[in-house]
Amino acid sequence: MERSPLLQVEDLSVDFRIDRKTTLHAVQDVSFSVYPGETLGILGESGCGKSVTCMSILRLHSERATRYPRGKILFEGGDLLTMPEKELREIRGGKIGMIFQEPMTSLNPLFTVGEQLMEMLRVHSERIEKRDAYERCLEAVRKVRIPNPERILASYPFTLSGGMLQRVMIAMAMLNRPRLLICDEPTTALDVTIQAQVLDLMNRLKEESGTAIIFVTHDLGVISEMSDRVMVMYGGRKCEEGKAEEVFTAPAHPYTRGLIASYPNPEHFQQRLPMIPGSVPSLWDLPAGCPFNNRCPYASAACLERFPAAERPSEGREVLCHEWKKVMSDG
C-alpha cells in the first residue's frame, strides 16, 4: 500500500483531568492511518478508548478537562490537535463527518429535520440560496433511500423511528461530501433488520462517493462485514491492526483471540462458550505494563513490567504484544 494516507494518527494520547490530583489516561500512544476510500474498523469493549479516539480526531472533548500530552493527527497537511478552533470548525461536518450512536439524541427536537440539514449546508457555504440548499437536502435524503423525502424534511425528529433518524444522520454527514466519515457505533441502538438496512446503505454510499470510513463498534459480526482493515483496542491501548481477514483468521494478540473465541458462533455450536476470565479493567486502576496482563493466558514477566513495542509480523500488520509469536504459533 503505497498510497498516502488520508488521516494519520501518531502516538495519540488523551488525558482527562478529573481534579487537581487525578488524571485519567484514556488513550495512550495509539497510532493508525486511514487511506482514501477504505473502511477502518475499530474494535473493542466498553472503556477501551475507541470512542475517545474518534472524538479526539475532531477535538470534540471539553477543552478544559482534556489534554493531549503527545501525538499528532495529520489530515491534509494540518495537525488537527493544534489547529486553531476556527479552522477546525471548517473541517468538522465539512471534510470530516461524524455519526454517533444514538440518533435520537443527536438531533435538535425543536427544529425540523429539513431545517437541521439545511443548516449543515449553510454553515459551510454561506452563499448558498435557501432554495438550492433545500434541493440538495432533498437529494441527499433520497440517496439514503428514505421514502417520501418531502414529508421527512418537514417533520420533527421525535416523530421518526430510530432507523429513519440514523438515515437522516447519514444524509446529514454526507451532505458536504466529506472525505472521511467517522461512525461511532452507528447501529448499536437499532434492531437487527434495521441495522442490516443501514449497513447496506453505508456500504453503497461508500462505493459511490469514495469516502473513507472509520467504523467503531464492539460487535465482531458487524465489524467483519464492514471493514477492510481493523484495529483492536483494549484498556486505552492499541492491541493489533491489520487486514480484517488476516486479523480474524490469525489473531496475533491474545485479547483478539479471546474475543473471537467468546463470540457465540452458531455454525460451530459447542456446549460451553469459551471465555476470557476476569473483567475489563477500569481506567482508574489499569495494571502496570500491558493492560491485558491480568487476564492473559500468555502473560510473562515482561508483560507485567512494560508495554510492548509495535512489531510487524507481516506487511500491513502490526501487533503490540510481547508474546505474539507464541500466540500465532498456537494457531
Binding site: 464492539h218 460487535d219 457465540p264
Partner: protein, 342 residues
C-alpha cells in the same frame, strides 16, 4: 377481536403437548390503552401481545426472540404477574396461577424469579450487596439463624463467581458483569424453579456475556432450573435455548426446538431476522446475500387484520393481508404461522 382469539386457541391446541410441561401460557393477550376520549375511555389499543401460547418443559430453556416492540418483554412480565393479562391463562406446574390474590400468589413468587436487562438500575444503590442477595431469604423466612443466613449468602456469591469478602460493598463498586452476577445470585436465593431472563446479557461486553451465559447454564444443570430467555440476539439465544419462539408485533410467528428452527427457518420473518444477524467469522468468499426487509416494524396500535408481517413480507399475497394465517406444521416439533406452508 374475540372471534380471532378463539380461532387462535383452537388451532393452537392442535400441537400443544398435553402433559410434559412445567410452565404453560395459554393465549396470553395484553392490550394497553393507547388513546382515550375526553371521558378517559380508551378508543384505541396497543396490542402488546396477542394470543401468545407456549409451554416450557421442566429444566429446559425457552428462548424468545424478536425485535423491539414485538411484545417479548410483555410476555415475561405477564408471567411474573407484573402485568395482569387482558385475557389468557398461565399454568405453573399444572395449576392455574392467573389472577391469584397477593396471598395465594406468594408461594409462586418464591419459585419464580426475574433478572432484568440493566444491571445498573435494578440494584438498590443504598443496600450492601450481601443484603440485596439475602433479601429474598429474609422475605420468605428461608433461613432460621443468622449464621445460616450468612453462610447461604456467601454460598450464593461463590456460586455466581463473586467473592464473599465483597458482601459489604455497594453495587456501584462493581462492574456491569459483576452486577449481573449479583442479580443472578439474588434471583437464585429463594431456590426458584423458574427464572425469566429479560435481555439478561444484552448490556454486557462480549467477553463478559460468555461468562454469564456459562454461569446460567451451570446453575441450570445443577438444579434443573427452567428459563425463559428473552433476547434480540439470535446468536446468544442459540447457545442457551432448547426451544425457541419467534415473535413479531405481539404474536408468535414460528416456534419449535432450537435446532429445527435454526436449520429450517420457515417463516419469512425468521429468515430475514437470521439473515440480518451478523455472523462471525465471516463466510469465506465475500459478503453473503442478505434478505433486506423494507420499512420499519408497524405500530402495535390497532394492528392490521390479516398477517401482521404482510406489509414487509416479500411473499405476501392479497389473501395474507385479509386473513390471519393459521398454524401449520413444518416438521416434528416445528410450527409456523404462515400461508406459505399448507
Amino acid at each position: 377481536m374475540d372471534e380471532r382469539a378463539n380461532s387462535f386457541f383452537q388451532d393452537d391446541n392442535v400441537y400443544l403437548r398435553s402433559n410434559d410441561y412445567f410452565l404453560r401460557a395459554d393465549g396470553l393477550t395484553m392490550h394497553f390503552p393507547a388513546k382515550t376520549d375526553r371521558f378517559g375511555r380508551p378508543v384505541s389499543w396497543i396490542h402488546a401481545a396477542d394470543g401468545v401460547s407456549f409451554q416450557v418443559p421442566k429444566g429446559k430453556t425457552m428462548g424468545v426472540v424478536g425485535e423491539s416492540g414485538c411484545g417479548k418483554s410483555t410476555v415475561g412480565k405477564m408471567l411474573m404477574n407484573l402485568y395482569r393479562p387482558t385475557s389468557g391463562r398461565i399454568y405453573y406446574d399444572g395449576r392455574d396461577i392467573t389472577g391469584l390474590s397477593a396471598r395465594e400468589r406468594r408461594p409462586y413468587q418464591q419459585k419464580m424469579q426475574l433478572v432484568w436487562q440493566d444491571p445498573y438500575s435494578s440494584l438498590d444503590p443504598r443496600m450492601h450487596v450481601g443484603d440485596i442477595i439475602g433479601e429474598g431469604l429474609r422475605n420468605f423466612g428461608l433461613t432460621s439463624t443468622r449464621e445460616e443466613y450468612r453462610e447461604r449468602v456467601f454460598e450464593l456469591m461463590r456460586k455466581c463467581g463473586l467473592f464473599p469478602e465483597e458482601a459489604n460493598k455497594f453495587p456501584h463498586q462493581f462492574s456491569g458483569g459483576q452486577r449481573q452476577r449479583i442479580c443472578i445470585a439474588r434471583a437464585l436465593a429463594t431456590n426458584p424453579e423458574f427464572i425469566v431472563l429479560d435481555e439478561a446479557v444484552s448490556a454486557l461486553d462480549v467477553s463478559i456475556q460468555a461468562q454469564i451465559v456459562n454461569l446460567l447454564k451451570d446453575r441450570q444443570q445443577e438444579s434443573s432450573l427452567t428459563y425463559l430467555f428473552i433476547s434480540h440476539d439470535l446468536n446468544i439465544v442459540r447457545y442457551i435455548s432448547d426451544e425457541v419462539i419467534v415473535m413479531y408485533l405481539g404474536q408468535i410467528v414460528e416456534r419449535g426446538t432450537m435446532e429445527t428452527v435454526f436449520q429450517t427457518r420457515a417463516h419469512p420473518y425468521t429468515q430475514a431476522l437470521f439473515s440480518a444477524t451478523p455472523v462471525f467469522p465471516p463466510v469465506p468468499g465475500g459478503k453473503k446475500e442478505r434478505i433486506l426487509l423494507e420499512g420499519d416494524v408497524l405500530s402495535p396500535v390497532d394492528p392490521p387484520v390479516g398477517c401482521r408481517f404482510a406489509g414487509r413480507c416479500p411473499y405476501a399475497t392479497e389473501q395474507c393481508r385479509k386473513e390471519e394465517p393459521l398454524w401449520s406444521r413444518v416438521e416434528e416439533n416445528h410450527y409456523v404461522k404462515c400461508r406459505l406452508y399448507p
